[in-house]
Structures are given as structure tokens and as C-alpha cells.
Amino acid sequence: MIKCLEVEKVVKHHHQNGRHVPTLDEITFDVHNKEFICIIGPSGCGKSTLLKIIAGLDLPTSGRVKFRGEIIRGPHPKISMVFQSFALFPWRNVLQNIEFGLEMRGVPKTERRKIALELVELVGLKGYENAYPKELSGGMKQRVGIARALAVDPEIVLMDEAFSAIDEFTAQVLRSEVLELWEETEKTFILVTHNLTEALELADRILVLSAKPAKIKHNYHVNLKRPRNRTEPKFLKCQKELFQILKDELKNTIVRHKLKAIHEHHKIEDMEA
């Protein structure tokens, strides 16, 4: 397996009221070609910060991220990103939104239109080429977000809570479509999520982060065949294992995170029930 991303001892401190608050604590892991990785952890643990550092939107306090051996110092043309908020430009229609990355890279108009039209079809938005984001549902908006990320032909697609702002039913459909896309396009996907079941459905490997300052608590290989079924006994067994890992983590959280942790704990119990 070829490594495409190496995260080496990444430490991140944030300034808060004039104090250094450690967010990430020596995070180290590798990502291989065509892998589907999920990063999961209690809310506020710094998962999104980690993803931003990989995206080159934020710099680590120490440590480094390497893409094919090259140190990431800013956004890399081969790494693109899908956002929880969709981050579509409301004044651009579907095609124009998908074309944005290509436009910024100076791809000629006819060529980028051709690519955008192909992607519209790929993400199942045919007929909506000229619709504005406000005319689309959450799931459709995220399809545009995904198409925009794929348009620049990246090797790694980063997804920050990409399914969290979509209603569960639509999210389920979209997840299975993203899996198909991942298999077809042979790209590497890294998804940050707080949804365990989602991570189990999608990932080859799940990185479980601890509460702040986040460390990699567990590197969980998902040994389930695809397509996965969330009602299958094997799936449920994995789910239970993962719950246990996260639960232990939540019990260990420091006092100042207790409230947040209790909140998350309830969420997990709700999901179990």
C-alpha cells in the first residue's frame, strides 16, 4: 500500500483569553491510497481543526503533514474539501458552483462547463443545472458540494461533517452514493464525523480521537465486507465495540469538559436505544 498522506506529531495550540490551550496533542497517522478514513471523537475535541490542518487552511503549532512526501504549507491542488455548511455560493447556480475551483485554476470556460456537466450527471443532479442553491434541498446542496470538490480531480477529498446538516433519511442515501463514488473514482476520502454508525458504514479505518487535547486513542480497522448493512449482527458487534471505546474516553474526560461530555453521552445512549 502506498502512503499518500503522513501526519507526523501534529500539535496545535489555540489562543484563548491570552492563554495557550492545547487542542491537538502529537497526532500521528498515515493514510494510504484509495483508503476511506473516518475521524471520530467527542464534540469539540479538535477533529475539524485536524482536518483544516490537512487541508492547509490552518498551520500546526508543531509537527507536519506530508502529502506524497511534500510538506503541506497551504492548500494543495490535489486536496479538496466538502463542508458541513455546504458553503455553496448562493449567487451561482449549480453549474457555476461546481465550476468554481476550475475557474480559479484558469480552466477555459468550455472545458470547465464540460467537466461540470459530467459531474452534474455523476452526482445525480441532472435537470438542476441552472438552479440556485436556495432552490435545492440539503441533500442536493451537498451533492453540489461534492461535485465541486471532485471537479478539480483531487487525490484526497476531505469531508468535514459532510452529512451532519442533512436529514437522516437523505443522508443515508447520500452516504451510499458517496461510497459508490469513492469506489468508482478511486480517490482517498477522509471524513470527520461524530456519528459512529456513519463511520462504520463508510470507513476502512476509523481513527478515534480522545477529548481535548486530542490524541489518537484508537486506530480501528473495520473488517466488514461492503455493502454493509447496519442491522447485520457483525455490524452491531463492531458498533458496540466502538461505543465502548468512545464511552470510556468520555468517562475519562477532564472536569472542564464534563458538561459537553454528558451531552454527548446522552446522544450515544439515544442512538443505542
Binding site: P90, W91, P133
Partner: protein, 275 residues
């Protein structure tokens, strides 16, 4: 699938309705205000007929409109005056926008610049405009220059503050998208910030425009420029209230026509994408 087909239907219908309204350039609701206006005029006219109000205090609307359409609109001095006011106003808005937009974008994006500059702008904006007028006349001498500069100053504040708010409200993720795809600085301004604040810019310009109608007339009187304001003032001073009211009606008519034909159309256009 049922969902998507019904969705398409809705979209089609929407498109048709906006298209027809654009083709005809006429939207029934936009002119509904004429009904209550007509009612006010009728009551006004009747009150005068019944001698409830003296025609020395308030001339009849029928008389005012007659004077406006059969007398003033044929008078080149009046027409030139109207255009003079209108051009002063528009130049004020345009110049103000040219100055206010860069300031608003810079302060909206840079919090340090914002906290050092914006309070000063707020203080100046809080000064009463009319009280500043004589000063401008003193500095620039009576005439069109003083009027245009004053109009620019008055229009600056509503445009600056609404656009600055708009810039501050741009979601952070929009900038992340620009960064991820390595947008050049110029593209960040022209393809992200400017279109994102377009709705607020239109609101600001509309506010400035409404403000300016009030202020331009005062400017003309103080700066002694021969616009509508000056004509109205002259008419009142020489005791012909009907002419003064005809001038006021003229302003009302122009203001509403510009509002409906320019602003409402631009806003309808923006509403096609703006939530």
C-alpha cells in the same frame, strides 16, 4: 422521484411568473399603493369643497395636478430644475458608493481596521446632516459643487454601514472555499465578497436614495442651487402654495417611479438567488 418532479414543476411555474413580469415590466402589486393614494386625494378634495380646510392653507389636489401637468411641466426652468436635483442626487449616490464600498469591505474584513476606523465614521455619521450644510457652503461656495459633495457625504453612511454588515455576515466557509481552490486576492473580492454583499449594497443604496430626496432639497435651498428645492422655496416665499405643492408632487412621482422601476426590479432579480 415524485418529490423531484413536483419540485421541477414549482420551479417551472416560478420561472414563468418572473419571466412575464420582466417582459411586461409591470407588476400589479407594485402599483397597488395608487388606491389608498387616490382615496387620500378624494378625502382631501372633499374637505376643501366642504370648506373644512381653507384653500389658502392647502390647495386642492386637482388644482395642484392641473398646475403641475399643464403649467410647470411646460416650463423649461422647472424641468431643468428637476433634472438638476435628480442629477445631484444620483451623483451623490454613485460617488458615495464608490467611496463607501472599499471602506466597507476593508473594515468588514479586517477587524483591527474596523475597531480603529469605524467608531470615527460612526461619530461623523451621527452629526446632524442639515447642521453641516452651511459649513459645506462656506468651504465650497454656494453652488452645485457644494450640493454634490454634501449629497455624497449624506449618502456615504447608509451605504457604508449596510455593506460593512454584509461583509461581516459572509460565512467563514466561503473564504475557506476560496482558499482551498487558491483564489487570487482579486478574485476573492470580485467573485466572492462583492456578489455576497450585493443584496446589502442594494439596500444601502436604496436607503441613501430615500435619505437624499429629503436632504437634496434642503441642500439646494441652503446652497442656492436652482433645483426643485429652490423652486419650492421660492414658490412658498412668493405666496403661491399651489406651485410649491406641484413641485412636491413632482418629487413624489419621480421618487416612486425610480423606486418601482429600478429598485424593485433589481431586488426581484437578487431575490431569485438570495434567501
Amino acid at each position: 422521484m415524485a418529490f423531484s418532479t413536483s419540485f421541477k414543476k414549482v420551479r417551472k411555474q416560478k420561472k414563468v411568473s418572473t419571466e412575464t413580469s420582466f417582459k411586461n415590466g409591470f407588476k400589479f402589486e407594485n402599483w397597488l399603493f395608487l388606491i389608498p393614494l387616490g382615496m387620500v386625494f378624494t378625502v382631501w378634495e372633499i374637505a376643501l369643497k366642504l370648506n373644512l380646510i381653507s384653500s389658502k392653507t392647502l390647495p386642492a389636489p386637482s388644482k395642484i395636478l392641473t398646475v403641475l401637468f399643464f403649467d410647470l411641466l411646460k416650463d423649461p426652468v422647472f424641468i431643468v430644475g428637476v433634472f438638476h436635483s435628480l442629477i445631484t442626487l444620483m451623483l451623490g449616490v454613485v460617488l458615495a458608493a464608490i467611496v463607501a464600498i472599499p471602506f466597507a469591505i476593508l473594515t468588514g474584513l479586517e477587524s483591527k481596521l474596523d475597531s480603529s476606523l469605524t467608531p470615527l465614521i460612526m461619530i461623523v455619521g451621527a452629526l446632524p446632516d442639515v447642521a453641516l450644510l452651511p459649513l459645506f457652503v462656506y468651504w465650497f461656495g454656494p453652488g452645485t459643487t457644494a450640493a454634490i459633495i454634501m449629497a455624497t457625504v449624506v449618502a456615504f453612511f447608509p451605504i457604508f454601514f449596510t455593506v460593512r454588515e454584509g461583509v461581516k455576515d459572509i460565512p467563514k466557509d466561503y473564504f475557506h472555499v476560496a482558499l482551498i481552490y487558491k483564489a487570487r486576492k482579486i478574485d476573492v473580492y470580485t467573485k466572492l465578497v462583492l456578489p455576497a454583499v450585493l443584496p446589502q449594497l442594494v439596500t444601502g443604496i436604496r436607503l441613501a436614495y430615500e435619505f437624499l430626496w429629503e436632504i437634496v432639497l434642503a441642500i439646494e435651498i441652503i446652497a442656492r442651487v436652482s433645483g426643485v428645492g429652490f423652486i419650492i422655496n421660492f414658490a412658498v416665499e412668493s405666496g403661491s402654495l399651489t406651485y410649491a405643492f406641484a413641485g412636491i408632487f413632482m418629487i413624489g412621482i419621480i421618487a416612486i417611479i425610480i423606486d418601482r422601476l429600478v429598485f424593485q426590479r433589481v431586488e426581484d432579480r437578487i431575490r431569485r438567488w438570495h434567501e
